[in-house]
Amino acid sequence: MDFEKPVVELEIKLDELKKLPLAESPEITEEVRYLEEQINKLREKIYTNLSPWEKLQIARHPNRPRTLDYVGKICTDFTELHGDRLCGDDPSLVGGPAFLEGKRVMVLGHQKGKDTKENVARNFGMPHPEGYRKALRLMGLAEKFKLPLVCFIDTPGAYPGIEAEERGQAGAIAENLVKMSILPVPVIVVNIGEGGSGGALALGVGDRVFMLENAYYSVITPEGCASILWHDETRASEAAKALKLTANDLLKHNIIDGIIDEPLGGAHRGFELTANVLKKILMDNLIELKKVPVQKLLNIRYERLRKIGAYKES
């Protein structure tokens, strides 16, 4: 990532120093200590002042932990279930039952790949309608067996393709929005990376919605926005700023309930830590939500959505 370049340059220098034959000498040890200090200072300076566009680079980082990384770390016995029973199985959206600290849950999430090959197989985390319809089916199981639902959001958007349209992408998303708004079990949503438009929201209606510190959530990608506004995708960083898509922006506008801190530099620089914090937040909120009677839970969920909107009444 561009903004990390100064740090990377120092890190290379440091590595070279450490490899020198006289690495044990007092002068070099002193130099190493000095460089390490500089690197830490620089990191702190860079990562605590990230622009929306820079945060978005972290959200899209190839090493960023994915849904299945978190599920593997914080859940046990996750059993992935497949297929929408209509058309196919969509590997860009995964789901199934699991235990979270011994408690039964249903997990759903967008799934991106770790490398190009896996990303092609996972369609870069961009679901077709069959992905959303699989999710709908698993929400039905959550309802039937009274499993709280935990959703991980991480998609650039629903896939824009011919077959996706032929099979009713829009309708598939809409049906999920309907279902989630009245699903009679607690629903917790965590945006772990990319919250790209309606394709993200289709897993996003819940009683609690959290975002990782560097995740973004937006009505349109900054590239798409820039291309509409200025017919110029290279101005995406300006669009990212205008769209107010960071976790801080969403918290400020009362769209989300909280921000989950990431280690300096992003979740991929401290996966264990991030996963542990995430797990604690899930547990705490599940315990709270389980105490609420179902009808009350649904009323509160409705009211939560009902009040979202910025308008004037003359």
């Binding site: 309606g198 769209i255 959505l305």
Partner: protein, 288 residues
């Protein structure tokens, strides 16, 4: 309640005759058809419900024009007219969002891209929302989302069938996350509506795309589209860019979506009222 009883229920409506519908078009004003390129008298186009007399292409119909088309004697009671858009993100590009709003408001004489009303359609009392594409592409921001939600809630309370005529490019970019969340809000209201036995007829006018199609517009008990209306989630240009190939002819047009089972009917504008009326005859009233 038997259908006949609806006829006896006397409801009083204030007739609003919006100036925009009574606009006098001077003779000799021409307009060029967006599809066939033929030159048509503006007056002829208006008299023909904005449908091209040469090629039958359905041009955009204003929100009030739509209410006049569908409601008996053009009479209706408008609701929620006092809702005005705000600029929660202080969105700035070359032109600020507030400037865009002002321009659209001046041009259309509307506060935003949707009008809520109650009226009668062949004597069926109905709650209706008409969207207006001329207002920032009919995009859904907070006002449109709130109006649609209120219309749904009012239909539930007043036990009225619901008709929403959509015409929209999708969610309104300039309100960012607030626009996106209107999809969830309207769909949640629709979930409650679906727990009643009241019908919802969704009408898709050209175009109905993105966040509007991916929420209330696709959730009708019956979904009707106007001929050749563009319908879908992703826009054709975005798809072409992603897949790097040419799209099939008529891709995402109403007739295409009918073939793929995504909508119920394609209906010409002149037959729209009668078609909805017949559906309401089937769906409203007691079962024998």
């Amino acid at each position: 309640m038997p259908i006949s009883e609806w006829f006896h229920k006397k409801e009083k409506y204030t007739q609003i005759t919006p100036a925009i519908e009574k606009r006098t078009i001077p003779d000799g004003v021409w307009s060029k058809c967006k599809k066939c390129g033929e030159i048509v008298y503006q007056k002829e186009l208006v008299n023909n419900l904005e449908v091209c007399p040469k090629c039958d292409f359905h041009h955009e119909l204003s929100a009030y024009g739509r209410l006049h088309l569908l409601l008996d004697d053009g009479k209706f009671k408008e609701f929620d007219k006092h809702l005005l858009p705000a600029d929660p993100l202080k969105f700035t590009s070359e032109k600020t969002y507030l400037e865009s709003l002002n321009q659209s408001q001046e041009r259309t004489k509307l506060a935003d891209a949707a009008v809520n009303a109650k009226g009668k359609l062949n004597n069926h009392p109905v709650m209706i929302v008409a969207m207006d594409f001329r207002f920032i592409g009919g995009s859904m921001g907070s006002v449109v989302g709130e109006k649609v939600t209120r219309a749904i809630e009012r239909a539930i309370t007043d036990k009225l069938p619901l008709i929403i005529v959509s015409s929209s490019g999708g969610a309104r970019m300039q309100e960012g996350i607030f626009s996106l969340m209107q999809m969830a809000k309207t769909s949640a209201a629709m979930a409650r509506f679906k727990e009643t036995n009241l019908p919802y007829v969704s009408v898709l006018a050209n175009p109905t795309m993105g966040g509007v199609m991916a929420s209330f517009a696709s959730l009708g008990d019956v979904v009707i589209a106007e001929p050749e209306a563009l319908i879908g989630f992703a826009g054709p240009r975005v798809i072409e860019k992603t897949i790097r190939q040419k799209l099939p002819k008529d891709f995402q047009r109403a007739e295409f979506m009918l073939d793929y089972g995504q909508i119920d009917l394609v209906v010409h504008r002149r037959d729209l009222k009668e078609t909805i009326s017949k559906l309401l005859d089937f769906f409203v009233g007691e079962t024998e």
